[in-house]
Symmetry: C2
Subunit: 194 residues, 2 copies
Amino acid sequence: MNKTELQANLEARAQLFKALGHPVRLLIVNLAHIKPRHGEELATILNLNPATISHHLSLLTDAGLLSLKKDQYYHTYSLIGDVLNKTLDEIIRLPQAELMANVEEDAYRNKVLKSFLKRGRLVQIPRQFKKEQIVLEKIVEEFEPGREYLEREVNRILLEFHEDVAALRRGLIEHHLMKRDKGIYWRPTEAQDH
Amino acid sequence: MNKTELQANLEARAQLFKALGHPVRLLIVNLAHIKPRHGEELATILNLNPATISHHLSLLTDAGLLSLKKDQYYHTYSLIGDVLNKTLDEIIRLPQAELMANVEEDAYRNKVLKSFLKRGRLVQIPRQFKKEQIVLEKIVEEFEPGREYLEREVNRILLEFHEDVAALRRGLIEHHLMKRDKGIYWRPTEAQDH
DNA sequence: ACCCTGATTGGATGAATGTCAAATTATGTT
DNA sequence: AACATAATTTGACATTCATCCAATCAGGGT
């Protein structure tokens, strides 16, 4: 599947919801649930012009909710039951691959990193928590998970990024990216991370 | 509940589907499923103007899909999980009372009866199967379910409706509204009816 | 008090949608 | 063949919707 197909799939899911997003069409689905119906019947019951009903019916069939059987010159529409048993979540949730194809999930992260890190050095410590989080997550990659560091080793590494190593150390602790006990620092392993 | 409230309820259901009926909003729901998100982040990831994102977010929250938490000057939107576990059917299906309030379910039947039955007599036997069905269902009410009738009794009753009693008799049999065996006619009871 | 940042609101504009009337197509009947 | 019935299509119109820009609002920091 290429990107275009993935987007088409996304459109198809939206189309199903769009088809259900109109009160008249919800009524039609309910009436078709009781028994199959033909156009004129629905037009009479709902007090709408046959052309309007025809329009709604084609949206519902295109979305895969109704099936059409021709009978003399009646077009009888029946409800396709199995679609309705799916949960919203089953229809909405995109597989990882598809999500990535439609979206640059780390565009925001990259934008923040790009604006604060120039040639490997921190231009400024972000004042906003969410941005500080992103920058510190990047910095903490310099530490090996599980390994213990003395404060002066920590400082040496942090100095590569910014002079104010005390602020960085404090930030790392506050954001739970590093732990400290009796002057020893370590980066939690992924498993303990949450 | 009065009629207006019922219609409002119907609109609310449609609103939920409408909110999901757009590809960008499906992406937002997917992203919010991974973790809560704030507006600027979504605008960057989806490459859209913040105003546009704000618009989509308000549709999703109005529909009850997202919840908002304010954090400094970030507005963080989280997915409300339980709605998504409902099936389409649970959301679409209207209780009988509500359906009846929005719809004249037997408008079509009444229209057909009105056009063929004048002062209790059949103006003409409908040429179309579906209309004949409706008229004969009305006529068969003159017979007591389960009771046995001789052909001449049947004729006497049918004559009240139309001269061509033979055509009516044939219609009643074809539409399975009456049964015949060895010149004896009877109307099936409800239980045997299907 | 004054800036900064993110979010929302109020137009503005083009696109999509809902509705109906009139014309057309498909099927059946006389 | 001519007519009748139901469905669909087409065209017109009004409504709603998606998107962006510009202005405003709300929190926080200097």
